[in-house]
């Protein structure tokens, strides 16, 4: 047990009392400060543009899907919540046959957005995704695919990639050299 020490003497002398009174006054004056609470849902908090919220699949500026089903996002995901299957349409373009994200597993880390080479998968600032049944938290491709380009407005992967798809032959991309003619003897 504590013996009669210095701070007991201080309290007896009332010096401690003064600091107590000062604390009471300070807390009383906080009454006149603005309160720090944000009254959700009437007021919304400020969300910065790079805030990692709900995941979407975006489209090209030309309207086609950006996702080439390369599985990089599924590989990068630390909790394995992305599931997809690649397929190829008749014109040489790869696309995901199904694309499923289990949002009850997703930790909104953004690794998939960093891994994606075509800016297809993006994290938006939306966070109001509550559901009553856990099964409703598994989003399919029709829930994820949006009609616009998302955060990156001008990027079209197929313009800079060296593939030949419908409407664009090899050698016609931006910054792309024409393919080498292997039958020509010129260097």
């Amino acid at each position: 047990m504590k013996t009669f020490g210095d701070d007991d003497i201080q309290k007896c002398k009332g010096l401690h009392m003064l600091s107590i009174l000062k604390s009471i006054w300070t807390v009383f004056m906080t009454m006149f400060r603005k309160r720090a609470t944000i009254q959700y849902p009437e007021e919304r908090p400020y969300i910065p543009p790079r805030w990692r919220g709900r995941i979407i699949l975006s489209r090209d500026p030309d309207g086609g899907e950006r996702c080439v089903a390369c599985y990089l996002c599924a590989a990068a995901c630390p909790v394995d919540c992305i599931s997809l299957q690649a397929a190829e349409d008749g014109h040489g373009r790869r696309y995901p046959e199904f694309f499923r994200i289990n949002f009850s597993r997703c930790i909104f880390c953004g690794f998939c957005e960093e891994a994606c080479p075509t800016y297809a998968i993006q994290l938006t600032t939306d966070f109001e995704m509550s559901e009553y049944a856990r099964a409703n938290l598994v989003y399919e491709k029709e829930d994820l695919l949006i009609s616009g380009p998302g955060k990156y407005h001008d990027y079209n992967f197929y313009r800079v990639a060296g593939l030949s798809i419908k409407g664009r032959d090899k050698g016609e991309g931006e910054n792309e050299n024409k393919p080498v003619d292997v039958k020509d003897l010129m260097p």
Binding site: K2, F4, D8, I20, V27, R33, Q39
Partner: protein
């Protein structure tokens, strides 16, 4: 005949008033604590969150009335009733306005001190009857704390009694017509107020309940309505101490323009808010620091106050 009707009206009025204020304090405390902590209290349920009180009451009433199998049944049930009865009985002597009090008791102040001593029983019995370690510790600490702070609560009031010449609370209020007793008896006021905070075991003296330490202390095994009774009983104790401080030190119903009852209620409300402000501000001292403060600082102060007052009055 009219006298009896008036007496009955006042008695029921005080009873319902005390219970209502005890209940409203739940809401008021949460809002005021939030005000001083830079946040809002309950403001969703009804205007200003006022419907929070009925919502909480419905929740408390609907809870399962469970008595621990290891508890002492009869004592377990009686303990919250003891504090309720003791506080309500003390309300009978409080003078609200000239002519409005339940009983004009010649030993009013002594009666209040006796009832607050009975209040210690509720805590000790609750701690013991719960049959669990934390409750027992809380009950022991509470009874020791309340007993020691009661000593100088009585002593600090003796100065007021000497100045007024009577134990009757109405005479004490009447004697403050010229100057409120807080001016000559400032030390007595400070000691009484601190002792009052300890008696109702509010912060900073709430080791008995110690929400973050003793797992709610002596009322940790209580749930539902019995816990509600402890809770409301504590708030009624706060109201009682505020009302008594007003009556004994701050002139009771005296005031310039407004009717006396309004003055009394305003001053009581001010002191209740002060209770809540202290709860928002001060940290909780350790148990031995608390006891040391009581016996080594407050008791000598109240004795010195008594001696000085006696010397001046008896000259």
């Amino acid at each position: 005949m009219m006298n009896i009707v008036k007496q009955l009206l006042v008695a029921f009025g005080v009873l319902f008033g005390a219970l209502t204020v005890g209940g409203m304090l739940i809401w008021l405390e949460r809002r005021l604590l939030a005000l001083w902590q830079d946040r809002y209290g309950p403001n969703r349920v009804g205007i200003f969150g006022l419907l929070q009180l009925p919502a909480d009451m419905i929740k408390v009433f609907a809870k399962e009335d469970w008595i621990p199998p290891f508890a002492d049944k009869a004592v377990f049930i009686i303990a919250p009733a003891v504090i309720f009865v003791a506080v309500l009985l003390s309300f009978t002597i409080v003078p609200f306005a000239p002519g409005i009090e339940v009983v004009d008791l010649n030993i009013g102040l002594l009666f209040f001190l006796a009832m607050s001593s009975l209040g210690v029983y509720s805590v000790a019995l609750a701690g013991w009857a719960s049959g669990s370690k934390y409750s027992l510790l809380g009950g022991l600490r509470a009874s020791a704390q309340m007993l020691s702070y009661e000593v100088f609560m009585g002593l600090s009031l003796m100065g007021v009694v000497m100045l007024a010449g009577s134990f009757n609370l109405r005479d004490i209020v009447e004697a403050q017509r010229s100057v409120w007793f807080v001016v000559p008896q400032f030390a007595g006021f400070v000691v009484f107020f601190i002792a009052g905070i300890a008696e109702t075991h509010r912060l900073p003296f709430d080791l008995p309940e110690a929400e973050s330490e003793l797992v709610a202390g002596f009322h940790s095994e209580y749930s539902g309505l019995k816990f509600g009774m402890f809770f409301v009983g504590e708030y009624m104790g706060v109201t009682l101490i505020s009302a008594l401080t007003v009556a004994l030190f701050f002139g009771g119903w005296h005031g310039p323009l407004l009717p006396p009852l309004v003055w009394f209620l305003l001053k009581t409300f001010f002191f209740i808010s002060f209770f809540i402000l202290i709860r928002a501000t001060l940290p909780r001292p350790r148990y031995d620091q608390l006891m040391a403060f009581g016996w080594k600082a407050m008791l000598p102060l109240s004795l010195a106050n008594l001696i000085v007052t006696g010397a001046i009055v008896l000259q």
